[in-house]
């Protein structure tokens, strides 16, 4: 798993590149949390999943964890560019209801 990020217009963009499963979950979680905790002021987070090649239900847990963390600060999460496969997981788990899809 690799992560790219940029801060633009009070929005923290986080791009997940690679595979998000049990093997990469802890590392991914710590990379994302490092960004969430140490970035300059941002008012929303957008996860760009265009380079996320695989995700299973372990990834659902990682994303719900980040959602809970930011909910306390009233910072919303949005999702863009999920592949068909990843989108299927988002739809069946209801993840889009707490972190809406944007284009």
């Amino acid at each position: 798993m690799r992560i790219k990020n940029r801060l633009y217009n009070n929005t923290l963009y986080i791009m997940l590149c690679g595979e998000l499963d049990e093997c990469s979950a802890n590392y991914t979680r710590s990379l994302i949390d490092d960004l969430l905790d140490n970035s300059e002021i941002y008012k929303q987070v957008i996860f760009d999943l265009s380079e996320l090649e695989f995700m299973d239900s372990t990834g659902i847990g990682v994303l719900i964890g980040r959602y809970k963390k930011l909910k306390n600060k009233n910072i919303p999460i949005y999702i863009c560019n999920a592949s068909n496969h990843v989108e299927k997981i988002f739809k069946m788990s209801g993840l889009y209801e707490i972190m809406p899809k944007i284009s």
Partner: protein, 148 residues
């Protein structure tokens, strides 16, 4: 004549073997010429079952995961088994968002994902003897290319 093929795989229950397991099973199924979506479904369901073995089956010393895949006609039968602690209540374990591990951000969606991505999922377990998950998926209209 019905096309038949079979393979077995035995790996240690380590998370770093997950991507190998799902890629291996998906690759074996490629003789049925599945769609990209069908391959993704198989990879994801295998990943869920293997993750369960890695996370739950062997709390003390890591044992092995036995994967067997049979292709009969245009259907794939995938069995993923461990010899670990087993599941006390299988019906409860299959409920969405149910997890026995309260720490560590577990989604509890593993069996739900398997059930929604495969045509059939059967889970058998006996406490102290392990878990066997059998999943079936019929591969679509291009599936008879080799079957003859």
């Amino acid at each position: 004549m019905i096309y038949r093929n079979e393979m077995k795989l035995k790996v240690k229950a380590l998370s770093e073997n997950e991507s190998f397991c799902r890629a291996c099973v998906a690759s074996f199924c490629s003789s049925l010429i599945p769609s990209i979506e069908e391959l993704s479904d198989i990879k994801t369901a295998v990943s869920e079952a293997v993750t369960n073995c890695v996370v739950h089956a062997y709390p003390v010393e890591k044992g092995f995961i036995d994967i067997s895949v049979k292709i009969i006609g245009s259907s794939v039968y995938i069995t993923i088994a461990d010899n670990g602690v087993g599941i006390e209540n299988v019906e409860k374990a299959k409920e969405p968002f149910y997890t026995t591990i309260k720490t560590g951000e577990r989604s509890g969606m593993g069996f739900s994902v398997m059930e929604s991505f495969m045509d059939s999922v059967v889970v058998k377990s006996e406490l102290g003897k392990g878990v066997t998950v059998t999943m079936i998926k019929k591969i679509g209209s291009n599936a008879c290319a080799i079957g003859g």
